[in-house]
Symmetry: C2
């Protein structure tokens, strides 16, 4: 009945909803989070580099970046040596919400794993990592 796939889907939706309500006040939405995390670490990169760092398809990234630009989170400039590519830069707005965004994410994770011991928490993350590896393995 409650298979792993079903539970995974349900759990992921609850994470997204929880994050959504906490970061909405910052002017961002859950789908932008991975891109923001990567860009807070280093910006000025191309879309391709971003895609390489995140487990997301290029087309999805392109659309997400379009919405982020619309929402004033990033700017795109011509790449100095490749006219096909662009460099992606965070705006001041995006830089300014960084700490609060991290805090929101931590709150959601804490709440989700509230009843877990330290050991269980580590085990759970390990399990998910193993599932991801299994499913990504080319057979």
């Amino acid at each position: 009945m409650k298979s792993a796939g079903y539970l995974a889907n349900h759990m992921a939706r609850l994470f997204a909803q929880g994050l959504h309500e906490r970061i909405a006040p910052l002017g961002i939405v859950p789908g932008q989070f991975p891109a923001l995390l990567a860009l807070w670490e280093r910006d000025g990169v191309t879309q391709k580099e971003l895609v390489a760092r995140l487990d997301i398809e290029q087309a999805t990234m392109a659309n997400t970046l379009t919405r982020m630009e619309r929402d004033g989170l990033i700017r795109r400039t011509k790449h100095p040596s490749d006219a096909r590519a662009q460099q992606i830069w965070l705006t001041a707005k995006a830089r300014g919400i960084r700490d609060q965004a991290y805090e929101a994410a931590n709150t959601v994770n804490s709440r989700a794993l509230g009843g877990f011991s330290e050991k269980e928490r580590a085990q759970f993350l390990d399990f998910m990592g193993r599932v991801i590896d299994s499913m990504q393995a080319k057979d």
Copy 2:
């Protein structure tokens, strides 16, 4: 970096993709799976009853049912005593793919949990259930 939320999202997408490629030949898609599971158990029910059994919003269910009708998986008939409601019935086609669909889902789950011992598998399902409960708890 790899927070629980991030991993949950990634894992759920891999489950959906894995299921997608295995059930596409049957003429169904992952979003229809929960509704099919419920209807294989009992059909002739209303949308409301379906929603009550699945952790999905009414509006999402309505759209999914529309696509299922379009795809020849269900029929809807007038409810005998409430003109607002309809009864939802599986078609022969939907009944005919049941066993193969279960098998596809089992294959995906087995593959995902391939490296898990029986004990780990149970633990993992328990963990996900607890996370879901935590996040659903009204505080």
